[in-house]
Every structure is written in structure tokens, then in C-alpha cells.
Subunit: 270 residues, 2 copies
């Protein structure tokens, strides 16, 4: 998918919401454990309930790999369900992969071609030749870590370089010269609104994927205020805050309510 | 596994060789494609043939994920085969994962507990709280990217910081203060022997996992000369150079010959 469809969906649904499908069998409603594939049943119900308010879905691979074969199967079924029933929705494999050319191509093929995701998250540490293999896939988006919202972000991302810039600024700046860099998006955490202005100067056109609202405590209003651009330019993710709003029979309705609550805030900015 | 067993194996086999199991169905001998699980059949033959000369095996996850469910199954069977038949051998999931606490714990559980690997490779960009969840697993090793051997290493790893150090130096230095940092190893590429002295000053005791000999062109002699410490301190990886030495019926013998050739060079330093 190119970003035009994403922009249309944002306009149509008045939402920049991305729902993170981080499924933990210990947190989902107990009655789902009777199904043959509880992870998929949970995802399906969450997707159907939140689709009116959400333009993107983002399974984090760790949660699927943690369940081995059955996790992988649930992931396959989830992305297939999304692509079949809601082809207009933007799908992100949150994998944070980073490896060299040959190997990066393998990951890219797995997530883009075989599974059929629209986007993959990647890590920048290994540089250009670890990211360009993802960018080689036309009509697919590569979402690179920029400035994250966890405490450890200060360990390296906020190191000052000899030229006075932060490392994360160098990462954004340099990535713009890579082949097909127009297919890059960036992960920018929601707990640091003061950095959004710097980031928007460096990558004014790019979409930012913003985790860290809800469970991680970032302010949705500040993110919208400082992060948007003239093409909307934001995908705002909430995972646990939506999908685990209730763990009873009403979990899907509760998730929809929370998704709508966030959407109504975003609507004010759209 | 703790590193004492690894050190004993290095001493016993006079080898620091790690064999990279990066299986590509287009490169393995054609006759294996008739088996129900060609990837596992290939790995089994390579492992049995090279076990005399090798102290570690390292499947790169990208190659398995590229084959979806059947890839994951082949990975499970491979690590199970290694743990059952050669429990003394050191096993590395080359996954280069990097995500925050909650999610990192999921990856750690998947690779250490469920699959039963001795070590996992991780990326440092997200900092301390993306690595410590791996270090929390006792008797398991976490191998963090330090300085890699690909061209893109110069994009960020070799950026000079305001204090005059390279980013990769800061990564090594800072990681030493993390909880259970004695369980850290580091990925250091083989094509930059001039950096080994700097790295050995920063992490004199740690094991270094060194890819980049063979197919990627690094010098094995230089790596041994500059990289070893008094506890050996090296695991030297070759993947394609060993496993694709021949793609005929004699592939396992050819792999063993190449493994032995490398082992005989290492032996001079042990």
C-alpha cells in the first residue's frame, strides 16, 4: 500500500489510530482459551470492533514468536484476515529488525511478500545497507526507529555527537539520502513532545509512528499538536490501553469504546 | 550454559569456530528437496559433519522466518537436535532483537526458555531497558551488536561523539554498568582488525562473536591475533563459506573440510 490510501483513510475515519495487537494469553478473556486458536479469535474480535475508529493495526512479533509455531500461525491468520476483510487498512509488522543486506532481504521478503504486511519496523544501528533492502520493495513502507519513549532512549539515541547533534538527529538526517527514502517512516515516542519540533524540521513530510500514549503515559493532545504535518503525518499507536481495557465477555466493546475515545480526541485535529 | 563449558570445549576441540546455519533452499543440494523437511535435513548433516571442528552453531532467524511456519518448525527441530545430541555445544539465535522491557522479555523467553538457545543476539539502539530483560536469564548469554563489518557500520557506529569516542565505544562502555553485564558478549566484525585493540581495552574479559571471515572477506589470522584474550574470548563465525562449500552429494564432507581448515588455523593460537 502506498501512503495515499492511508491518507484517505485518515480523512474518512477522522482518525490516526493504530491498534497494537500485542496478544498475551494471560491477559485475554478466559473464555477465549476454549477456542482452537485463542490469539486469532481475540485479534479478530478486536479488529472487527475497532475498525471504525482505526486506520492501522500493528502486531508486535515478539508476542507471536513467544508462542512458537502456534504464535506464527496466529500471526499468519491475523494478517490474512486483515488483508481479506479490510484491505484498505494499513498493516505494520512491528519486528524492529536490523541485519545486513542478504539477511535483511530475507526479513523484507517474509514480512512484505509472504505475510503481506504494508510496513515493517526496523532498527538503524547497522546503517544504510541494513535498511535499503526493505526500501527496495515498492509500495511498502519501512518504519525506522528514530527517538523512542523508553528510559533507555537516553543511553544512545540522545548522545550528543561531535557536530552538536543528537544521534537520533543524525539517524533521521542520514536516512534521507538512502535509496527510496520516500518510503521511510519513523518511530517517535510520545513521551517527548519537546523533540517533535526538531524531528519535524528534519523530516517534515514523513509519517511518524507514535507509540507511548495510553499505557506508557504520553499525551495524545501534545502529540497531535506538535507531530502533525500538512499530510496528517501521524499514526498514533495504543496497544494494551485498548486491547486489555476489559478482560471479560465485553472485551471487544470495551476496546471499541477506548478506540473511539482516542479517535474523538484526534478528530479535533483533523 | 555458562561460558565455562564453552571454554572447555574450545580447549578440547582447539577451535573457536561457530557455524552459521543460514539455510537458503535455493542454495542447498537439490536432492535434499525430496525430504519432508529439507532445511532440517541439511542442518542435521552439516552439524554432524562439522561437530568435531566447531564449538558453536548459529541459525540466523531471518532465513527461517522467510519460510514461515515450515521455517519455524525447522528451527525448532534444529535446536532440539543440537540440545539432545550435542548438549555441550554453544547455540546462538542470531535474531538481533531490540525492543522495550515488556516485549524484550517475550523475545528472551521465546529464545532462551521455549527454544532452548544458550545465547541471543540483540541490538543496542533502544538502550539499557531493551537489553537487561535478556540479561535477567541466568546461565544465558546476550550478544549485543558492537561494531559490525558491513559498509553501513560507518553510518552510526563510527560516528564520533562529543566526548571524542565512537558510538560503538560508548555502547560497549555503557553496557558494562547494566545488571548482569557479565553475561554480555559482543558482535565485532572481522573486517576491522584495527579496532580490536580498542575493543579489548573496553571489554577485556568478554567473548566476541566475530562474523565476516570467509564470504565477507575478513582475515582469520588477524582476528585471532588482535581479538583473543586470556580466556580465548572469541567465537569466529563462518556461514556461507562452510555450509555452501559444495552443493552436490558431498556437501557435508565439503563443509567438514572447510570447518577443519579454519580450525587448523585457530589451533595455532590455542
Amino acid at each position: 500500500m502506498n501512503t495515499n490510501i492511508l491518507k484517505q483513510q485518515i480523512e474518512l475515519k477522522k482518525s490516526m489510530l493504530c491498534v497494537g495487537l500485542d496478544v498475551d494469553l494471560e491477559k485475554i478473556p478466559k473464555h477465549l482459551l476454549d477456542f482452537e486458536d485463542p490469539i486469532f479469535e481475540f485479534n479478530k474480535a478486536i479488529i472487527d470492533a475497532t475498525i471504525k475508529f482505526s486506520v492501522a493495526y500493528k502486531p508486535n512479533l515478539a508476542f507471536y514468536e513467544a508462542y512458537g509455531l502456534k504464535g506464527w500461525l496466529a500471526l499468519e491468520k491475523t494478517i490474512e484476515y486483515l488483508n481479506k476483510n479490510y484491505p484498505e487498512v494499513f498493516t505494520i509488522a512491528d519486528a524492529k529488525r536490523g541485519d545486513i543486506g542478504n539477511t535483511a532481504s530475507r526479513y523484507a521478503k517474509a514480512f512484505f511478500d509472504d505475510l503481506g504486511f504494508d510496513a515493517v519496523t526496523v532498527a538503524p544501528y547497522m546503517g544504510k545497507d541494513s535498511v535499503e533492502p526493505f526500501l527496495a520493495f515498492k509500495n511498502k513502507q519501512t518504519i525506522m526507529l528514530g527517538l523512542t519513549s523508553n528510559p533507555g532512549a537516553k543511553d544512545f539515541q540522545l548522545e550528543k555527537l561531535s557536530d552538536g547533534n543528537y544521534l537520533f538527529e543524525k539517524v533521521l538526517e542520514r536516512s534521507k539520502s538512502w535509496q527510496n527514502s520516500h518510503q521511510l517512516m519513523y518511530v517517535v515516542g510520545a513521551t517527548k513532545p519537546e523533540y517533535f519540533k526538531m524531528i519535524r524540521q528534519l523530516v517534515p513530510e514523513a509519517f511518524l509512528l507514535v507509540p507511548g500514549i495510553g499505557a506508557q503515559g504520553g499525551s495524545l493532545e501534545e502529540v497531535c499538536e506538535y507531530g502533525m504535518n500538512t499530510n496528517f503525518g501521524l499514526l498514533i499507536n495504543s496497544s494494551r490501553g485498548i486491547i486489555y481495557k476489559s478482560n471479560s465477555l465485553d472485551f471487544a466493546e470495551a476496546a471499541a469504546d477506548e478506540a473511539q475515545r482516542l479517535q474523538l480526541v484526534m478528530k479535533k485535529y483533523l
